[in-house]
Symmetry: C2
Amino acid sequence: MTTTADNPLRNGVDTAALFATIDAVRADPELAKFRFRATNRWVSGTHNESTIHGFYGAKQDMDHRVASTFAADHPAVLVGEDNGPTPTEYLLHSLAACLVSGLANIAAARGVNLSEVAATVEGDIDLLGILGLSDEVRNGFGQIRVSFTLRGDEPEKLRAVVEQARRRSAVYDVLTNGVPVAIEVDAG
Amino acid sequence: MTTTADNPLRNGVDTAALFATIDAVRADPELAKFRFRATNRWVSGTHNESTIHGFYGAKQDMDHRVASTFAADHPAVLVGEDNGPTPTEYLLHSLAACLVSGLANIAAARGVNLSEVAATVEGDIDLLGILGLSDEVRNGFGQIRVSFTLRGDEPEKLRAVVEQARRRSAVYDVLTNGVPVAIEVDAG
């Protein structure tokens, strides 16, 4: 913590608390086991809503300060009513947010100052897959691109922070390496 | 379309428009190329916001009816200020929403009536990975589970609709099979 003792709230990150948390988890790895959750309710057509509130972590059930509800839908061009972004756009958001949250922590831990961070995430998708019109086209994005603009300390330090964020991002890991998804159905 | 002519708005889905869209794309596959986008702006610490508005598809740039902005943050237990869900929770939401939007379309196309659809999506994550405390623990979710409750027509028809939604979900495909992610950085 010596590198940040002169500025414990660098980039808005409480680095003392961050290092203390890492030390606590190192001492008791059971604290690191988290379970996140979203509950979704169909509204009509392609319109549905997820609520995010409770989660498990650090050996206890917890709640976010407020429950958040997010509407998803398809746009009119895809026969929806555009009551919210498409599910795939939320996926792009989750990747952007994970990389940006991570790099803010990493920059603070390294004593690197940020003044501005912006990211644009784009994903290319050919709907011949999900429309069942081609067996050769995959259902999901064929490619995702992330473009960062960072301002703050020296460019090479900023680039190194982004690289470490990529190496430690939960969402980047899941998107690039895949994850097992089990589905169970209560139908009646 | 004969199976749905008696009920063109089954489950809130305009099945005539859905089939017409599929026919139009079959005739001109270029219409199927979409590009979705989220832009993210760092606020402070692990707090950042994505905006979703414009996208490309059907050979043109388009906008959603409204621009949507979503805050992401880490909870207090993870040294954030809990200004919104974590990025990983948005990922779970995107999976739930994609499966539910898809199954509503598929049910309508098959003439299957839905009265209720609910889904809970949970993901297990061991933070020893992203905290850099273990090289053997991955950064992202080790496992995701989706639990559906469906009510409507016969259970076996409902279960078949969920199975087809899984087989045609863009987000399920990306999460289970992975996707290339390219990152570029403008640092100055």
